[in-house]
């Protein structure tokens, strides 16, 4: 195994270590090493094995839209939206604080396994929720300006719009930047910490905003 030690041995704060031993796959369990500088196992920025699942979901979404199946549209909209909200809230309010209290090694291991998956999961859920939601609303006549609760629907557009700007302008770039930083031969721990904070906080903010969307959506569904 060839390790690139990234810390001054004289410092008490452990740095990051690039594990370039290609035999040590990320996800193969915690590396057995003595206490010391954390090891970054090799990982893929985009988990290729997840791409077929994304493709199946997007094809399913297109089929749902083209057939105007009420069940399929509801499935993609409610299922996607529920998962989107749950993941955001769980990440921002539960995982974030837990992650902050973990060791550097544990945080590095979590990040290298978790963040690539988020890179596929979140855009897919957003596309499912919004694509199916728009078609569902059109199918049910809710998009029509004459719909009695049209103002509520427009309010939800505004909330989703703000969430989209936060997610695509801050959250996703932070996600990707962390992964590329961890790929460097000499990752900067402080920068990763800063970017992870952006990621966790923005996920929490969008999660809280999602609650407002759920309030509006359940209100509209019960009318």
């Amino acid at each position: 195994m060839t390790d690139t030690v990234l810390t001054d041995p004289g410092l008490s704060d452990p740095g990051l270590v690039r594990d370039v031993d290609t035999g040590n796959e990320a996800g193969a369990g915690p590396p057995a090493h003595a206490p010391g500088p954390p090891v970054i196992a090799p990982f893929s920025v985009v988990p290729v094995r997840g791409l077929p699942i994304v493709a199946v979901l997007l094809i399913g979404l297109i089929v749902a839209i083209s057939t105007n199946s009420l069940w399929a549209l509801t499935f993609f909209h409610v299922g996607g939206g529920g998962l989107w909200t749950s993941i955001d809230l769980f990440l921002g309010l539960i995982i974030g604080p837990i992650l902050g209290g973990m060791s550097v090694q544990a945080r590095v291991e979590f990040t290298t396994r978790f963040m690539p998956k988020m890179l596929l999961i979140m855009p897919t859920l957003v596309a499912m929720t919004l694509g199916a939601g728009f078609q569902l609303a059109r199918h049910l006549g809710n998009l029509n300006a004459a719909y009695p609760h049209h103002a509520w629907l427009v309010t939800s557009y505004v909330i989703v719009g703000i969430m989209a700007v936060i997610a695509l302008g801050l959250l996703e770039p932070a996600n990707l930047a962390v992964l590329f930083e961890l790929k460097k031969p000499r990752p900067n721990g402080e920068r990763i910490g800063r970017l992870m904070k952006v990621f966790i906080y923005t996920a929490g903010i969008t999660g809280v905003m999602q609650i407002a969307t759920i309030v509006i959506m359940t209100f509209l569904a019960s009318r």
Binding site: S66, F134, A164, N188
Partner: protein
């Protein structure tokens, strides 16, 4: 193996990438502004979907978003010391992903027989969206990567 060059402690202070940030244009902020204008245009369009309102407001928002995007690209293209290889690699894949998402939405609007002018404006907004987000992503990654001569 530990080399002298690799013993710099991470998180101990600004490194070369931090010092380079002052020389970079505000690409991420301008990109987010473009995104906000594009999303606002989309919201105005969606709020009036089904009736035939004046398209002046969304056209103005799309035009403003387009101008900011062009200025953003122009400013970024003037940067000499930058990790362009990483930038183009991320940009290419992100463009592919976001054009697929935009394509799905164009399919939805076309399938729904959205009237010609509104459809054209939706497509323009989606083009801006699908170009701007990859630009933000590629810049956000490449800004922290070493430029070729420093790599």
């Amino acid at each position: 193996m530990t080399t002298a060059a690799e013993t710099m402690p991470p998180g101990a202070g600004p490194d070369e990438a931090d010092l380079r940030q002052h020389d970079l244009p505000p690409t991420a902020r301008l990109g987010t502004l473009t995104l906000a204008l594009t999303v606002a245009g989309g919201i105005v369009m969606a709020a009036n979907y089904g009736r035939h309102p004046s398209l002046s407001a969304p056209i103005a928002l799309a035009a403003a978003a387009g101008v900011v995007l062009i200025v953003n690209v122009a400013l970024l293209s003037r940067v000499k010391t930058f990790a362009w290889t990483v930038f183009y690699r991320v940009l290419g894949w992100a463009l592919l992903a976001y054009f697929v998402i935009a394509g799905i939405l164009v399919f939805v609007f076309t399938y729904d027989h959205t009237p010609g002018h509104e459809l054209a404006l939706f497509i323009v907004l989606l083009l801006l969206f699908a170009t701007d987000v990859p630009l933000i992503l590629a810049f956000s990654v490449a800004r922290w990567q070493p430029p070729p001569e420093a790599a």
